[in-house]
Symmetry: C2
Subunit: 226 residues, 2 copies
C-alpha cells in the first residue's frame, strides 16, 4: 500500500485532503505542528481527524515559531474580527505566519523521505486565502522544484510529489467534496480565536470564511459558535 | 546597519561564514538548531563562535528531528570511522539528515522576514560533502526561487538572498579564508562522535576532512583529538 504524508491542521481543508488521499487508496501518515499557535484546539481536532480516517501514524512536532514571532497567530498581535469576505483586505493579513508552509512542507519532505512515501498532501487554497504568498500555485511549483533537488530520493530519481488538490477550489466546493468523500466536519476546528473551552468566536476571518462556505454549499455547519 | 541571518553549527564552515558576513559589515543574527543531534557539543561551539563575532542575537531553536529519524546523526545508526578522504563513498553517506538544510533554511527565511534581514548566510560546501544533495549549487538556486515566492517580503519585491560563499571552496581554502578574516577555530567543533567530555574522535569523516584541510592549508589544527 503506497504511503502519503498529509499535513493536518484539524480544519476543513486538511480534513478534506485526508478524505481525498484515503479515497485514492493511500496509507495515511498525518503530520501536525505544535508551533505556539494561539488556537491550540486545532491540535486536538487534528488528532480526531487522523483517528477518524484511520491514519497509520500521527506525528505532532513541536517547533517554537513563537520565538520568531511576526504573526497574529503566534504572538500578541490582535486577530481582526467582524469582517465580511468582501471586506477582507487583499494584501497579506496579520494572521500570515512567516514562511509557515515552507517550514511545514520541509518537515513533511523529511518524514516522507524516511517513510519512503512519495506523495505529500497539503490543503492550501489560493482563493479564500489569496493574501498568503505560500498558498499560491506558483509557490507550490517552486517548492516542488526545490524538493526534487533536496533529497536522497530525488537524487536517486524517485520524486516526492507535493499535492495541493484544493488549491483552486472555493470553500463551498471543498466542503461539498469532503462530504461526498465521507469527511466528518464536526471533528474540525477553524477559529483563530476560540474561547478557553474551545467554542469558535464566529467573528474572525477563518470563522467567517467557514460559515460563508457552508452557507454557499447549502450544508449545515456542525461547529458551535459563541 | 544591514542585518543578516547566519546559520551557525559551530564548525569550521559556519565560523568562516560568520567571518565573511562580518567583513561585509553585516549586523549578525546567528541561528542554530538543537535537533537531537548526537554531537551536542556543536551547540556550545555555536554559542562561542556567535559571541566571538559579537552577534546581536543567537537563537537556538529546538526541533525534534530524532522522531523523524533516518540519519546516523539523529538515531542509532553507526557513524563510520577511519576512512581516508579518497575512501569516502561518492554516494549519500549515512550521516545525511533528510531535508536538513531545507528545514534550516526555512526557519532562517522566517526569522529573516521578521527581522527584515535580506541576507541569509549558510556554510554549505559542495566539494567536501558532494554526497549531500542539499549542499549543491543547483539546490541553493532552487531554494532561492522558492523563497522569492514564499514570503511577504518576496511578494512586495524585497528579495531575501540565500548566500553560500563556501559552496565551491575546498576545506583548506575555507580555513585560509577564515584565518585571513580573523576566525578563531579553537572555538569550533567538528566531530560527529566526540567523547562525553567533548574531545574529538579524530576518526569520523568530519574529523578526517578537518585534519586534512588544516594539513593542506599548512595551518595547525587547534582541536584536541582523542
Amino acid at each position: 500500500m503506497k504511503k502519503a504524508v498529509i499535513l493536518v491542521s484539524g480544519g476543513i481543508d486538511s480534513s478534506t485532503v485526508m478524505a481525498i488521499a484515503r479515497s485514492e487508496g493511500f496509507d495515511l501518515y498525518a503530520l501536525s505542528f505544535d508551533y505556539g499557535q494561539r488556537h491550540r484546539y486545532e491540535l486536538e481536532s487534528a488528532g480526531r481527524v487522523s483517528r477518524f480516517f484511520h491514519a497509520s501514524g500521527h506525528l505532532v512536532l513541536r517547533i517554537d515559531l513563537g520565538v520568531i514571532g511576526g504573526s497574529a497567530l503566534t504572538s500578541d498581535i490582535i486577530v481582526p474580527e467582524g469582517r465580511t469576505p468582501d471586506a477582507m483586505p487583499q494584501d497579506i493579513p496579520v494572521t500570515y505566519v512567516p514562511a509557515r508552509n515552507t517550514i511545514f512542507l520541509s518537515f513533511a519532505l523529511a518524514w516522507a523521505e524516511v517513510l519512503k512515501a512519495y506523495d505529500i498532501f497539503i490543503g492550501v487554497n489560493a482563493l479564500d486565502y489569496s493574501g498568503y504568498p505560500d498558498c499560491r500555485p506558483e509557490y507550490i511549483k517552486a517548492f516542488q522544484n526545490m524538493a526534487d533537488l533536496a533529497t536522497r530520493e530525488g537524487v536517486e530519481g524517485r520524486r516526492i510529489i507535493i499535492r495541493a488538490p484544493l488549491i483552486n477550489m472555493k470553500k463551498s466546493e471543498i466542503i461539498r467534496k469532503g462530504i461526498q468523500l465521507g469527511a466528518d466536519y464536526s471533528l474540525t476546528h477553524s477559529c483563530y480565536n476560540p474561547s478557553p473551552d474551545g467554542i469558535a468566536c464566529g467573528r474572525c476571518d477563518s470563522c467567517i470564511l467557514r460559515k460563508e462556505g457552508f452557507r454557499e454549499a447549502g450544508i449545515e455547519d456542525p461547529a458551535l459558535y459563541a
